[in-house]
């Protein structure tokens, strides 16, 4: 057969014919835009890609992508995706979810899909609020947060999605920010390319119910003090003048100023390939305001993938026993014949 010339798809080709219905100004728009760019860059056929989501503002995402898609039920997207990927390892399967969808009602599926290392790409739009149901607190909302369901302030210790994912031994863990579009696109692309489960937490602004939740991380004047872009093999440096760094003090990270006898070599060097997840765990614990919060890839390691293993077992069984023969099966073991 002659090689087929594939048409080159542009980001716009990944948009569906449905009106995008997020609130004007919502951070979700930016994530959608970056995702389309990444799709174009990856140049996978659209029909080979499936977006699966739960319920929430963020979970409307699949409707807006001109790929296959499923807007499922609240919290369960990882389970649908596991079924798809287990049967069809040829497909690229994305899970789009929110902080409530993934971590509240869907926490268990999230946990298990991560520890099984199913080859999915999970993008969590973390706006630290329930957007779709109009403003209740979520598992990532801060202590003391006043919301519709917590008029005296939230009293639940918030979850740290990255720590949780690392607790479940996620093989790819990253964080990015809705408005940091280049970083976001790069991160989404790396996540898509990772063989195994990839988990990206995206800081997303809900300008209606939780506006400014990430101001510290997006506001030009302060962000370089409050976030730190980590890169494999590089020391942890941040600050507007790149004059601050993170040093290890025993098991404890500490912020130091460069100069005054402290050089880059004294700093913690990032190693996203570390086989043990302890470093990634430590990084995930760095939280504003005590620390700059890491963005970028915290962990990226190779491990067996559930979906592949499952399909390998099928192949192996066939190789060892031959393609199943029903007539033979029916007649195996004790049978008797009536004439």
């Amino acid at each position: 057969m002659a090689p087929v010339e594939l048409p080159v798809l542009k980001p716009g080709d990944f948009g569906s014919d449905q009106d995008v219905r997020w609130c004007p100004g919502c951070g979700d728009y930016s994530i959608l835009a970056q995702m389309k760019k990444v799709m174009a860059a990856l140049a996978w056929p659209r029909e080979k890609t499936v977006f699966v989501s739960g319920i929430g503002c963020s979970s409307r995402f699949p409707y807006y992508m001109n790929t296959y898609g499923m807007h499922s039920i609240h919290g369960r997207a990882p389970a649908f995706a596991t079924g798809i990927k287990s049967c069809r390892p040829d497909l690229h399967v994305f899970v789009i979810t929110g902080d409530g969808d993934a971590l509240s009602i869907g926490g268990n599926h999230f946990m298990h899909v991560v520890r099984r290392n199913v080859n999915l790409n999970i993008i969590l739009f973390n706006n630290r609020i329930y957007g779709l149901t109009k403003g209740q607190y979520s598992p990532t909302s801060e202590l003391g947060k006043i919301t519709k369901s917590t008029p005296m302030g939230a009293i639940d210790n918030p979850m740290n999605p990255l720590s949780l994912a690392i607790g479940c031994e996620a093989t790819f863990v990253a964080r990015s920010i809705d408005v940091h579009i280049k970083h976001l696109a790069d991160t989404l692309k790396r996540a898509a390319e990772h063989p195994g489960v990839s988990f990206v937490e995206v800081y997303q602004n809900c300008n209606v119910f939780n506006d400014g939740a990430y101001k510290y991380a997006t506001d030009k004047s302060v962000k370089s003090d409050n976030i730190i872009e980590i890169e494999h093999g590089k020391p942890l440096i941040f600050g507007k003048n790149r004059d601050k760094g993170i040093r290890l003090n025993g098991m404890q990270p500490e912020v130091v100023e460069l100069g005054k006898g402290i050089t880059e070599d004294d700093l913690l060097f990032h190693d996203e390939l570390a086989p043990e997840p302890t470093l990634a765990y430590l990084l995930s614990r760095m939280r504003y305001p005590e620390f700059p919060e890491p963005i970028g890839v915290l962990r990226c390691v190779d491990a067996p993938r559930y979906d592949e293993l499952l399909n390998e077992q099928v192949a192996q069984a066939r190789a060892e026993k031959g393609e199943g023969d029903l007539d033979k099966l029916f007649r195996s073991g004790d049978t008797w014949t009536v004439e």
Partner: protein, 621 residues
């Protein structure tokens, strides 16, 4: 090693020919009663009898040895005529200890054979079973033919010299009991010997011990004075063919695999273990070379969701559970109805409500599977009537699911799932294929409509990977045709009506309801699921006595066969025996406004034929 090989038919005692017999082995969970029962079953089947079995497990957890809670039983019914149930009152009871005697004796028919392992009736065991005095010694058991057999002692002697520990030696007791039972019913030891050879290939000492215990049991019957006669049961007149014994769960699993193959699909099962459905998962997970993928999910919700994902991706998808797990799947089932994807949901019912009686049987989930979802959310429901029938039901369910693009609920129950009966082996190529087509990209430039419908109202099954058919599905109401989200009031009504009509259309393919007996009369016994056998037997007997009684057994509970109303109205009375408090009755009364009479029982046990006959007789002129 020496094994005795005397001719097994060389009976020196009288042989009474009987038509059928029901034998129950019972003992402690650790006593190997399930194995004993299975061996008697297979041997009887190989001897040409019709057989049916019913194991009775203790509650899920293992109770301490010798306690009432730890008793395990296995009942075998074999016959020279067609049988429909595993038997009810027991003709011969083999009780390995006092606890087993205590819990089972009520089912032994008066005058029946009672074989007790007298060695096990020591003080401690009697106390554990709650006996103040040894029932073997007083008049308690006077109405039975009691045979006290020192099985422990005899078994130990039989295996003497094989260098086994006492524990190992005692584990052979069930083979002694088998041997004795085999003698009693003139059964060959050969099949069980083959089984021993295979099973204990790697443990020659154990194999030899079991072989010896088996022979010892047989010899005991043959030799001692205690037994004056044995029985023989002729071959049944089964349809010609090759048979095997199958439990309901196994038959269901094999039916599903067959359905997959017939439709050119690979099977995906998303499941979470639960009694009594787990064996379907176990069974299917063994057949990866048939392209079967099993996924033990983190819970029942993930199980069904993964299956829906698999269905979306183009596979034959399935989830299996029992009552409590089915309750958890309600929300996702609703999504499957909305997505209009083919999916099989298997509910192997058990005693409820809540955790209930996990190892006992019941039919009390019918209304749950009909209505346990939010909104107007209909789906077809099919039920199996006997262990082997599960095979057919699986295929028929998938035929409908694939044809109509709908989830289909399959109802089985603990009684069918663990019970067994002979299955006449089919030839794969004799089965009707299940045609499935997936649309390809339209070439006429028209946009693809994911919710365009065919004459039966099914939508197309477009699968990921197909260029040009990219579409999104979801749980929000969707616009007719396109499947896009729609909040339009009239569209919602239309889609609700359409989903209902689609399920109603299933009636067009399932055929008419059949009636055993006259099409009109004094009484119709209407049944579904497990009670089929008892109802069929009861009605057959009543008919033999000249009563104007007929039997209709429903396979599909939703929709009902098109002619059901007509049938119901042709009888003066309609009796509905159910192992629940009247759930089919409710559906029938609602739809046909007929004053059905319920025979309802929730005791964790199947109906006795006599219960149905009694009730029917009370209704007959």
């Amino acid at each position: 090693m020496s094994t005795e090989f005397e001719s097994e038919t060389d009976h020196s005692k009288a042989v009474l020919k009987i038509e059928e017999a029901t034998v129950r082995f019972c003992g402690d969970s650790g006593d190997g009663m399930q194995l004993a029962g299975t061996q008697l079953t297979n041997t009887s089947a190989l001897a040409g009898n019709d057989v049916a079995t019913f194991p009775d497990f203790p509650a899920e957890i293992r109770a301490p040895r010798g306690t009432l809670a730890g008793v395990s039983g296995f009942q075998v019914h074999f016959s020279s005529t067609d049988i429909y149930t595993p038997g009810e009152t027991v003709d011969a009871l083999i009780a390995m200890n006092p606890a087993a005697l205590k819990t089972n004796i009520a089912d032994l028919k008066s005058g029946g054979v009672l074989i007790a392992n007298s060695d096990a009736f020591d003080k401690k065991s009697l106390e554990q079973a709650g006996y103040d005095d040894n029932p073997l010694d007083d008049e308690t058991l006077d109405s039975y033919q009691l045979f006290q057999v020192p099985m422990t002692d005899m078994t130990r002697r039989a295996v003497d010299g094989l260098d086994l520990s006492q524990k190992e030696a005692d584990r052979c007791r069930n083979f002694f009991a088998m041997g004795l039972a085999f003698w009693l019913y003139g059964r060959s030891l050969e099949p069980t010997r083959r089984f021993i050879d295979l099973k204990f290939k790697k443990l020659p000492a154990i194999a030899e011990a079991n072989r010896r215990a088996l022979a010892a049991g047989r010899n005991y019957g043959e030799t001692t004075d205690a037994f004056v006669s044995s029985f023989s049961v002729d071959k049944a007149k089964l349809s010609p063919g090759t048979y095997r014994n199958m439990t309901g769960n196994q038959a269901l699993a094999w039916g599903l695999m067959t359905a997959a193959k017939l439709s050119g699909k690979e099977l995906f099962l998303g499941s979470y273990p639960i009694t009594p459905a787990s064996d379907i998962l176990h069974e299917l997970s063994r057949y990866k070379n048939f392209g079967v993928r099993t996924f033990q999910a983190e819970d029942e919700i993930a199980a069904i969701c993964s299956a829906i994902g698999a269905a979306y991706s183009g596979h034959m998808a399935l989830t299996t559970s029992s009552g409590p797990g089915i309750a958890l799947k309600g929300e996702a089932m609703g999504l499957a109805v909305m997505l209009e994807l083919p999916l099989l949901v298997v509910n192997v019912q058990r005693g409820g409500p809540s955790t209930g009686l996990p190892t006992k049987t019941e039919q009390a989930d019918l209304l749950q599977v009909m209505f346990g979802r939010n909104g107007e959310c209909p789906l077809p429901v099919i039920s199996a009537r006997s262990p082997a029938d599960c095979f057919e039901v699986a295929i028929e369910a998938w035929r409908v699911a694939a044809r109509f693009m709908t989830p289909v609920m399959i109802l089985s129950d603990g009684y069918l799932a663990n019970g067994s009966e002979p299955w006449r082996i089919v030839n794969y190529q004799d089965l009707k294929p299940i045609p499935i087509t997936h649309p390809e990209a339209p070439t006429n430039g028209k946009p693809f409509l994911a919710y365009e419908r065919d004459e039966l109202l099914a939508r197309p099954w477009a699968i990921p990977g197909t260029p040009g058919l990219m579409h999104r599905v979801g749980g929000l109401e969707k616009a007719d045709g396109t499947g896009n989200v729609s909040y339009d009031p009239i569209n919602h009504q239309h889609m609700t009506d359409t989903r209902a009509q689609k399920v109603a259309n299933v009636a067009q393919v399932i055929g008419d309801q059949e009636v055993m007996g006259d099409p009109a009369g004094d009484l119709l016994v209407l049944s579904w699921g497990g009670p089929y056998g008892s109802c069929r037997t009861a009605v057959t007997r009543l008919q033999a006595e000249g009563h104007k009684v007929s039997h209709a057994h429903l396979r599909w509970l939703n929709p009902f066969p098109a002619n059901l109303g007509e049938i119901l109205r042709s009888f003066k009375k309609v009796l509905i025996p159910e192992l629940n408090m009247g759930q089919l009755s409710m559906l029938i009364r609602n739809q046909f406004l007929i004053d059905t009479i319920g025979l309802n029982k929730v005791q964790g046990k199947p109906f006795q034929v006599a219960e149905i006959i009694d009730k029917a007789e009370s209704l007959l002129p």
